[in-house]
């Protein structure tokens, strides 16, 4: 393997403005990780218009930093207040908070930060070696392969989520339908534009992400405004002792591997990885009854796993052009805005962007490790800012950002409408994730499908007769069988975690 582009990536990552944007990204990420309610997908969506004027590498470095920084931040509230800031830190709350109540909050947070650092870093190293191989394979893909690949992506994101599978399919179909609005990609016929020029160019991805994730989340949280006010336990020295380290080092190793593997899987991501890592730790422990009562492994395993997964979930996006989760879908949009199409060509066409972003993650993880411990006190104080004050400010920033995309008030109305749609979907039990992902992949899926149908002369069975696409179809079939099994494992695990949580008191 030729290492020179990797090394060039380091010089890109260590340019001073990229270091600055990396720092900015991870700090914002940690901050929103601490605040429950606003997730990384929403934050990145809201900040998209600001990145228009940035240089592509700097923009993506910052947005990526928000994503993995949020995993660190979510841990802090999980441990101290048992209020998980992010879904991926829910299991950390079980043993982390038990440790905090025993007066070991400091060491728990320290171990979590170190585990996160090791998980994240190990995952970048693995990514560096696996991504080029995967991209090499993907270069041979034609329209037929992309059709099946996009289907696999949408299917996995829809089914590995928490909601009902059939509702995710419906949400994805609605997203695909919204992607149809605008001119036909091959013939240029206007479709579903209802005669307005405003819709002729289609709906900008930023609008959809800001509406569903940004405004939608704010409206949804408006209905449940009360947040319990809890006293913050003192956390003392954030440096774990020798014993903590000895207990958790194997857990960190196992968590890193689990997280890396599950992160690559579309739809798996950080939440799934942390749940599975917790299950693994509990199963391999000599005395599983310690879990839920403050076992350090129960913090170390899931924390290394969710960071490893956050990093490895970049792989499908950067090598295949298929986003693995909702946040990656927003990053997909960010790259497209910069005129860069994520896919197998990315590594060869824009090696500076690819390796610059990947290598900036080393720096980001170091920054997070260094920052997270001294800033814990500050972040906890941030929690005292009432969500009722943050919400209208976030809304105003979103509205200004929306207007600035095309200097168009119609887009603002669209964002508000999509925000209401996102709210309604949540109320009716639909997840916005599959919708946004399907919207992103919609035009790729349609164009690939129509091109491959022309190549195949209208014969659908050709999909299973071409060797490469047949392999992918086989993978699709396998996932249809395997996913329900995975869901069952996770459910059992969640139930177990819950039991442990109840026993903890």
């Amino acid at each position: 393997m030729d290492l020179s582009p990797v090394l060039t990536g380091f010089t890109v990552a260590f340019e001073w403005q990229n270091i600055l944007f990396c720092l900015l990204g991870v700090t914002v990420g940690m901050l929103i990780g601490v605040l429950p309610g606003l997730g990384p997908a929403a934050t990145i969506a809201i900040l998209l218009p600001i990145t228009y004027n940035l240089e592509p590498t700097a923009a993506v470095i910052m947005l990526a930093g928000i994503f993995y920084g949020a995993q660190y931040g979510g841990t802090i509230t999980s441990v101290l207040l048992r209020l998980p800031g992010e879904a991926s830190t829910v299991v950390t709350a079980l043993d982390g908070h038990a440790l905090a109540r025993r007066g070991e909050a400091g060491p728990a947070l320290g171990i979590a930060a170190i585990a996160s650092f090791i998980g994240g870093t190990a995952s970048i190293i693995l990514l560096t070696f696996i991504a080029p191989a995967l991209a090499g394979v993907a270069l041979a893909f034609g329209p037929a392969e992309y059709t099946v690949l996009a289907l696999i992506g949408i299917f996995l994101v829809g089914t590995l989520g928490n909601g009902s599978i059939i509702k995710s399919v419906a949400a994805a179909a609605a997203g695909l339908l919204l992607a149809v609005v605008g001119l036909d990609p091959i013939m240029g016929t206007p479709r579903f534009t209802f005669g307005t020029d405003q819709l002729a160019d289609g709906i900008d991805f930023t609008i959809v992400a800001m509406g569903l994730f940004g405004v939608g989340e704010i409206l949804y949280n408006l209905e449940h405004r009360d947040r319990p006010d809890k006293p913050v336990p003192s956390f003392g020295r954030a440096i774990p002792g020798r014993l903590h380290w000895l207990q958790s080092r194997l857990a960190i190793l196992r968590g890193s591997v689990t997280g890396f593997v599950l992160g690559i899987l579309p739809g798996g991501g950080a939440t799934m990885a942390s749940l599975v890592a917790y299950a693994v730790e509990k199963r391999t422990a000599k005395d599983p009854s310690r879990f839920g009562k403050g076992a350090v492994e129960g913090v170390a395993g899931p924390e290394s796993a969710n960071n490893a997964a956050a990093t490895s979930s970049f792989i499908p996006l950067l090598t295949l052009g298929i986003p693995a989760n909702a946040t990656m879908a927003v990053l997909f949009g960010a790259l497209m805005l910069q005129g860069i199409t994520p896919g197998p060509g990315l590594m060869t066409d824009h090696p500076d962007v690819f390796w610059g972003v990947v290598n900036s993650m080393y720096l980001g993880n170091i920054l997070l490790l260094v920052l997270s411990i001294p800033l814990i006190g500050l972040f906890v104080r941030m929690l005292k800012v009432r969500p009722g004050i943050l919400a209208p400010i976030t809304v105003v920033i979103t509205m200004i950002g929306t207007y600035s995309i095309r200097n168009n008030a119609f887009d603002m109305l669209l964002v508000i409408g999509l925000g209401l749609l996102g709210y309604g979907m949540r109320k009716l039990g639909f997840e916005p994730g599959p919708f946004v992902l399907a919207f992103v992949l919609g035009s790729l899926l349609e164009a690939s499908f129509r091109r491959s149908m022309r190549i195949f002369d209208g014969d659908v069975t050709e999909y299973v007769q071409q060797p490469v696409s047949a392999t992918l179809v086989a993978i699709l079939v396998v996932t249809v069988v395997v996913v329900p099994l995975l869901r069952r494992v996770r459910t059992r695990q969640t139930a177990g975690a819950e039991e442990a949580g109840v026993r903890a008191d």
Binding site: R82, L83, A87, V90, N162, G163, I166, K167, V169, A173, A174, L176, V180, D184, M187, T189, R191, F192, L219, Y220, L222, E223, R225, P228, K230, T271, R386, G388, I389, A391, P392, I393, V395, V396, M399, I400, Y403, S404, N407, A409, M412, I416, G419, Y423, K427, L428, G429, F430, R450, M453, R454, G458, V460, R487, T491, T494, A495, A497, E498, G501
Partner: protein, 190 residues
């Protein structure tokens, strides 16, 4: 002790929300009922579950009708209408599936509450805000929106709402118009 109890149930609700399976989803509303202090989201009724399926069916039917207005073409030569027609079919099928299966076995909707009025009011206010933007500039609508939201939706004091509304608008002005050079319509010029 009451505090500890509250923390515990809140956490249980979060963990349960993560659960994918039917049994855990069915257990969630019970947990919410047991809890007197922290009212988690309540599951919606049967009607709402059926509506959740009816919406995709109606949407799909409308989309299918619109697709027929476009050229469908054939599988060999797909026209602009073929793809939307396939998607519309998927919508109708999944909607029927939701009514037939999911609505009976799962309680995954959330009941609408008094808070829904606040949500609609917020969306309405935002729509007014967006329409005023190009007419009178961004300053006055922004101050008004922030003030109304803070005072009536977030229930901050009159003074706090007024001070924050003006301060945030001023910061936004400096940040976006002067700092980032965003071409927002504005009336105050330097």
């Amino acid at each position: 002790m009451a505090k500890v109890k509250k923390a515990e149930t809140a956490e249980a609700a979060v963990v349960e929300a993560e659960a994918a399976d039917d049994t855990a989803a069915a257990a969630a509303p019970e947990a919410a009922q047991d809890d007197e202090v922290d009212e988690g989201p309540r599951a919606g009724g049967r009607v709402q579950s059926v509506v959740a399926g009816a919406v995709p069916v109606v949407l799909g039917a409308v989309a299918a009708w619109l697709s027929f207005g476009l050229d469908i073409g054939s599988l060999t030569e797909p026209g602009p209408g073929l793809w939307p027609l396939i998607v519309a079919g998927l919508l109708v099928a999944s909607g029927i599936g939701i009514i037939a299966v999911t609505a009976k076995t799962r309680r995954d909707t959330e009941a609408f509450t008094r808070g829904t009025v606040a949500v609609l009011a917020a969306a309405g206010g935002l729509a007014v805000y967006a329409s005023l933007y190009e007419v009178v500039g961004f300053e006055v609508p922004t101050v008004l929106l922030l003030f109304a939201w803070l005072r009536f939706l977030s229930r901050e004091s009159w003074l706090m709402s007024a001070v924050l509304a003006v301060a945030v608008t001023a910061v936004a002005y400096v940040l976006f118009i002067i700092g980032l050079n965003v071409p927002l319509p504005h009336i105050i010029a330097f």
